[in-house]
Symmetry: C2
């Protein structure tokens, strides 16, 4: 036992989140971390039974290991400095490493940097300009005056669309014939005036990742690359998130995204990028979607789209353009292209598998400079749909589950009393149920297990008894829920294996595995591996990249070269249509059983 | 006296209208011409007193010359075969020449051919196409499938806008993957798909001349060049005309023009041209107009506009484009460019003066390959506004006036009882008043003339006494009305003379004088010359060309080369701003007095 001075205050430094906090000697590391404002996963609520709040002491001294820690951590882990935050007490100044999986998801996202470096080279740049006022001796039209002035400043041949012209006449007069022109230049030199901002005005860009069940909008300073605001991003907990989705889906425009902006900003937004799956892409572009729902599910437009934002009802400043990257296929959309871009798949010479898990899961494999992609119907189970007590990730949703000493422990979103189960919760429940012997390898609930009841809905396992739930009823999962997870994981496994087979390689060849998207961020890697959704390789090969599609959209706002890469990427990809692939049904059937899949399968 | 067989029927051939009619011997030539459906000007109603119904016998025999004819026609004219239609009787088979000035205006317009020959080379052409249907083995997006098929047919690099793509997916499926593609190609080779029409479908174009007080829309077959329908054209008599104008002005779109089309045609219209003055051009393009109303009256956009019609609210087929020629200046618009194009000024090496008379009168002068243009504020008098008993050209409006034997004779539109005076009527009234000594050279009404009364509105001359009017009140013109005409003709004369001075020439150098527009078509050349609005040169130098702007718009639908000429024309023109021109005020003041201006002034 290390002696501690109970009245002392020690500084605790948290890595890699970069926070510092002063705490009294003797408080638990969990309390210290919570005091710093960083949220840890802690399913059992600090009882030392779930093992989710792992941290590693890099420097400094902690209290002695407890029996709980010896139970839940291996000897090697303990030797490496791994501890349970709820058990270890602060005995000196400390430097602690918090691994991503111990951070709650929103915290994890704050850590995400740009995974790919690129030189900023935004399509829209500022050109400061001063004009002669018109007079009876100089009657040039406003647009002519502007384009001639731009030509003198080296931006010759700049076209001025009706939308730009509309916005300029009044502003030029209000600004006494000077200001900051926002000029959009493509790589082939085609230049177009977007609008006139006041002298010194900040030029903003809007990046939007629009999914069927999520929407993230980013307001970016085009000169500095700084993200000034981020709305709706990875925040499905709020009812606001649902509103946005509803608006987007039914209004069939990208206008909903712009609504997220403060009105004052709208007039400063001079460029926009929207990424989304093919259906959302078509909704935003007001393209017909009927043929996307009928075999053979072809897109109306798959090439990159560059239009004036107003043409699709997105009213930004003047003649602001909207760029939407190419779609790969009916079910592999521009959001996947953006994700591949942000996670480096477009540029790598490594072997990388990237998955964007959702109702449809898009999977891509990069190997020796080639890229294969497919889409597989994984169903909405991971979004909490088609699950007996399923719900979207909102307060009261069970998001983490541990089985300990014969009982389930659950952690809910916002710590509210449990009322249902969201995607990561149902995955955990199934994984823990397998481990606890409640579920067998074929997915059946074990009849004589004390937690399994026979009900009108078939065999059912109680996760949270009525007495502890938020609505006074049991929170359960059923045989049918387990089956939904089986179908989902089967589809994703089969898709992954089929791409590996196309490339003639196995999982051991994978340098890294990128898991993107909302569910991919929240899912517990161990649970995903336990059920066989993901392959059992070194955890360090895994990268949970959060909303990579949104970051890809930001890159596309800030770099013409990245647009070029995205355009080429969509063309390079070899799309594999699973429904006509000879091996898919076999692979899918074989993938339905539960159990770890090692890299030598 | 020639003997005639009173029971005989003779064939009468009318030139250049190309009509034939069988009439009984002894009927007047006027009756014969009316029987053929051709309308002559006949102010006195066949009494032989106004001299407006002149025709020339080219072949055949007529009854002997009457005293009235000897009175109103010179010996030379009689020797040349000129007769008054109301006096001469048919005595044999005849061939008659009807000069344009003897035809009523609508008839005159039917005679107008294309004044400039051009080789049809429409921007939009048909490409017949047959596609492979998509399958799980061929998942190309609809747009990709189309553009690749077009490339195989030699139309490579055809872009497919969102608007085109929107329209194509459904039609391609309905038409079983074949049909007629409408492809828009610019002179630089830039090609864009407009839409897919059914196989064998007719591709139509819409040409619109949109003025502040008139609107003419033409539906043209792009393959044959044939004008299939013409609506609102030169038809200000109908209340419908006013509705359209109201709609156009207040809706600020070109949509009103498309409303004139039968719904069934709209989906076949794959190209559009709109010409109008700068204000209407800006209204149609939804550009700001405020600065057009404030000194120094500059346009927002003066370059040619080529946009997708839907961008300005004109919903035609698929991605149909809208072309609007360049404006020359704030008050010399694209309609004037179209008029110059149709009347040959863009191509001529002759010396030609062209006037488009309206509230603002645009004047252009071509001389030795150079073109000068100006705009002069001639006021709304010629549209019947600011005139005591003024009215728009509608039934009951006095349109022609003759003074004969101490009394005014009037002809009204549709032959209704007179209720007011339209533009051509007031011009005639002033000219005849001058000739009759009712008005003096300074514009004053001669006090002691029996037709001049002193009233609350000042000196007034009765044109139609209450007993013969349609509303039981006198139809009059006042000193102030005469002054309006003075100001109008002064402005037009001064503008014309100033352009001649710029070119360093005089009226005798003019090879021809083109008078365009609605009023220019209806005005009586002799009256215009009598008041000094137009210069007194050989009448054969004058060309009243009707709605040349509308014909120019049609040319622009049918020929890329004409678009090129129009684009260059607007750049070539030397615009003369009268308000800052040193000599204008002097010239204007000198031009206010009435009286013939010969070519040697």
């Amino acid at each position: 036992m290390v002696e501690t001075d109970a009245t002392a205050l020690y500084g605790v430094e948290l890595q890699p989140v970069g926070r510092r906090v002063q705490v009294a000697a003797g408080v638990t590391v969990l309390e210290a971390i919570q005091a710093s404002g960083v949220e840890l996963v802690s399913v059992c609520g600090g009882e030392g039974t779930c093992g989710t709040c792992r941290v590693r002491a890099v420097e400094g001294q902690l209290s002695a290991e407890t029996a709980e820690e010896e139970d839940l951590l291996s000897a090697t882990e303990l030797a490496d400095g791994w501890r349970l935050a709820c058990q270890a007490q602060v005995c000196s100044a400390l430097r602690l490493e918090i691994p991503p999986e111990s951070l709650s998801a929103p915290q994890r996202l704050q850590l995400e940097g740009q995974s790919v470096d690129f030189v900023p080279d935004p399509p829209v740049v500022a050109v400061d300009i001063e004009l002669e006022a018109p007079s009876l001796q100089d009657l040039r039209a406003d647009a002519t005056r502007l384009s001639e002035a731009l030509a003198l400043l080296g931006t010759g041949g700049t076209t001025i669309s009706l939308r730009s012209a509309r916005a300029c006449s009044k502003r030029l007069r209000a600004q006494h014939w000077c200001g900051r022109a926002a000029v959009h230049t493509q790589m082939d030199g085609t230049a177009a005036l977007i609008s006139m901002q006041p002298a010194g005005g900040r030029l903003l860009g809007l990046a939007v990742d629009t999914g069927t069940t999520k929407l993230a909008a980013y307001l970016v300073d085009l000169a500095t690359g700084e993200t000034l605001a981020r709305v709706g991003a990875m925040n499905p907990q709020t009812a606001y998130g649902e509103d946005v989705v509803t608006r987007i889906t039914y209004a069939n425009t990208a206008e909903g995204a712009a609504d997220l902006l403060h009105e004052a900003h709208r007039g400063q937004v001079v460029d926009a990028v929207v990424v989304g799956n093919t259906a959302m892409h078509h909704f935003v572009a007001d393209l017909p979607v009927r043929q996307l729902g009928e075999a053979p599910y072809v897109a109306c437009v798959s090439d990159p789209v560059l239009v004036r934002a107003g043409e699709v009802g997105l009213e930004l400043d003047g003649g602001a353009m909207l760029y939407m990257p190419a779609n790969i296929a009916g079910y592999v959309g521009a959001d996947h292209v953006a994700m591949l871009l942000a996670s480096g798949l477009a540029d790598t010479d490594q072997t990388v598998l990237a998955l964007d898990i959702g109702t449809n899961t898009e999977i891509s494999l990069a190997h020796k400079g080639e890229i294969w992609s497919c889409s597989t119907a994984s169903g909405p189970a991971f979004e909490g749909a088609h699950i007996h007590d399923g719900m979207r990730a909102a307060p009261g949703a069970v998001e983490h589950v541990r089985f300990h000493q014969g009982a389930f422990q659950v952690q809910t979103i916002a710590g509210a009393r449990p009322i249902g189960i969201c995607g990561s919760g149902i995955l955990d429940a199934v994984a823990q149920g397998l481990e606890a012997g409640i579920i067998d390898g074929r997915g059946s609930l074990v009849k004589d297990h004390p937690l399994v009841k026979k009900t009108a809905s078939g065999p059912t396992c109680v996760l949270v008894p009525a007495a502890r739930s938020g609505h006074g009823r049991d929170v359960v999962f059923t045989r049918s829920d387990v089956n939904e997870i089986q179908l989902a994981k089967g589809a994703i496994r089969a898709g992954s294996e089929l791409l590996l087979a196309e490339a003639g390689i196995g999982p051991s060849n994978l340098d890294s595995i990128v898991v993107a998207g909302a569910f991919g961020t929240y899912l517990d890697l161990e649970s995903a591996i336990a059920v066989g959704l993901l392959v059992d390789v070194e955890r360090t090969r895994y990268k949970q990249v959060g909303n990579a599609a949104g970051r890809g959209a930001e890159q596309l706002l800030l770099s013409r070269e990245r647009r070029h890469v995205a355009d080429r990427l969509a063309k390079r990809v070899r799309y594999v249509e699973l429904t006509v692939h000879g091996s898919f049904t076999d692979m899918f059937t074989r993938s339905l059983g539960f159990g770890r899949v090692d890299s030598s399968y």
